[in-house]
């Protein structure tokens, strides 16, 4: 990439950090039964909880638009109803439903292939900083969608969703994850909004350099389950792919078969999971990168032996960190339970903020929210008893004075708050 473009990326990051310092940190928690927003103080010592939002709805992802610090998108469905997207322009005080949520083309437009229906939107990614109001969505089953109006209406990428080759690579429902095959890890190159990466479970990692008009697999040197053809994208299961903001030519991937790093323009993934302790292994779901140092990344290993328990190995949860691009890994478990903690952390449920020292966060499928203010050296639990945590994002949010500029209707949190007050009143002597 050209030097001037690299400089503009750095400048944009500096602006983002400056903005973060004047705003406040919010943790966006998406769960199987609703969404919660935790507002942190400047020191990240105390957290004020706002929620539940959409109590009982299945929220797969809740994402704040970094371009304005106030627009939230929530990927939602319920046990009975079809999928949709909710949008708030005031940090969750008021929500409105998308006018046209992600939906596949009808079968007639699919070149004879059976038509598909979106079960749920799984992943949301804001577009490039220069493309205000552009968002991307990844769905289950695998589908890619784009909005150019801030998430109000969504259009399918039929070149991928309905392409016979890609449809073959997506496999059947039996090739997908237990709660449905999905398209995830949609990444926009901060230097070029037309340069995209995405991943499919199953279906592999793919790249577009033309804004999504065409995609091609990016699979060299990635392992697949023994006995299968690694040249066939169907057999690849990337769990989570992240791009390093400080060096957008570097990607990390937590995969079904290990942990990998890719330094572009190379197309050959480097196996860095082999440097993990053998007793712990290199299986897991989330992948977190340092926003300022591309040599630093974190994973949350899980048991991938025998029947794939997908729990912390030996019931001893730990984060593993690398400071050298994956050549070595260090165990970080101070403050975490030392035994009998059989945690699962899903692929979207671990993240980092942009503060200094860097804060790390993860949520468990047993509903616990943990954080570290010192880059993983020490951990503390900041919430328990939440529903199964699906996704966690941390972001710099707009200030109260900024939000007061926006008016709207009643908050979805108000019904739960009213119910809580009524129960408390009934319990009073």
């Amino acid at each position: 990439m050209a030097q001037d473009k690299e400089e503009s990326v750095v400048q944009a990051q500096d602006r983002a950090v400056d903005a973060a310092e004047t705003r406040h940190v919010v943790l966006l928690v998406a769960t199987r039964k609703g969404a919660w927003i935790y507002h942190g103080d400047a020191a990240r010592d105390s957290w004020r909880v706002d929620g539940p939002h959409f109590l009982g709805h299945i929220i797969s992802h809740l994402v704040l638009d970094p371009r304005d610090g106030r627009t939230l998108l929530a990927a939602a469905k319920t046990g009975h109803l079809g999928p949709t997207i909710f949008r708030s322009t005031d940090l969750g005080r008021n929500w409105r439903e998308a006018a046209r949520p992600p939906a596949f083309a009808q079968s007639a437009a699919s070149d004879g292939l059976p038509g598909r229906s979106v079960d749920h939107t799984f992943w949301l990614t804001p577009g490039h900083a220069d493309e205000t109001d552009v968002w991307y969505a990844g769905t289950s089953p695998q589908g890619l969608f784009r909005s150019t109006d801030g998430g109000i209406t969504w259009a399918p990428f039929s070149c991928l969703n309905d392409d016979p080759q890609y449809r073959q690579w997506m496999g059947s429902a039996q090739d997908g994850t237990p709660d449905g095959a999905k398209l995830h890890s949609i990444i926009v190159d901060p230097r070029d909004g037309r340069h995209l990466y995405l991943a499919m479970s199953s279906g592999g990692v793919h790249e577009s350099v033309d804004g999504g008009e065409t995609f091609k697999p990016l699979l060299e040197q990635l392992a697949v389950v023994e006995g299968f053809d690694r040249a066939n994208p169907t057999f690849h299961d990337p769990h989570c792919v992240r791009l390093c903001p400080s060096n957008p030519d570097r990607l990390y991937q937590q995969n079904h078969c290990g942990i990998y790093r890719l330094d572009r323009p190379s197309e050959q993934w480097l196996d860095i999971g082999k440097n993990m302790p053998p007793a712990v292994g290199a299986v897991g779901f989330p992948m977190v990168v340092d926003p300022r140092d591309a040599d630093r990344a974190w994973v949350f290993p899980m048991d991938g032996t025998s029947v794939w328990p997908r729990t912390s190995p030996a019931g001893m949860p730990a984060v593993y960190a690398t400071r050298d691009g994956g050549n070595s890994w260090q165990r970080l478990d101070a403050g975490l339970p030392s035994s009998q903690a059989w945690w699962t952390v899903k692929r979207q449920a671990m993240t980092a903020d942009r503060l200094q020292p860097l804060g790390l966060y993860f949520g468990t499928s047993s509903g616990e929210l943990w954080m570290s203010r010192d880059e993983g050296q020490h951990w503390q639990c900041i919430a328990r008893h939440l529903p199964e945590i699906y996704a966690l994002e941390v972001a710099a949010a707009a200030t109260v004075s900024e939000l007061l500029e926006v008016d709207g209707a009643a908050s979805t949190a108000s019904a739960a708050t009213a119910a809580s007050a009524a129960i408390a009143a009934a319990k009073a002597p």
């Binding site: 009975h80 109803l81 439903e97 998308a98 006018a99 949520p101 939906a103 229906s117």
Partner: protein, 85 residues
């Protein structure tokens, strides 16, 4: 006709029964969507299939096809069927 709305969809209608018109289930759902935008897609997917946990009954009889004709003086009940856990 009178349409009974399940609790999961009352965020759209803000009431448990509403009026809608149409000669078929498809037409009634289209009319409902005009009155309450977005409600149809929560029940019917993009391949025009009823979603797995949404059922329709007309005067007590189950409906399985969107093309099923309906009388204007009947009662359509939309039900959120079992979905556990």
């Amino acid at each position: 006709m009178k349409v009974l709305i399940p609790s999961a969809l009352r965020s759209y209608t803000e009431r448990s029964d509403v009026a809608a018109s149409g000669a078929t289930l498809a037409a009634v759902l289209a009319d409902l969507d005009r009155r309450y935008p977005g409600i149809r897609f929560r029940m019917i997917d993009e391949q025009q299939q009823m979603r797995p946990h949404v059922r329709f009954f007309f005067d007590g009889e189950p409906l399985h096809e969107l093309s099923q004709p309906l009388r204007s003086d009947g009662e359509l009940i939309i039900v959120q069927a079992l979905s556990g856990g």
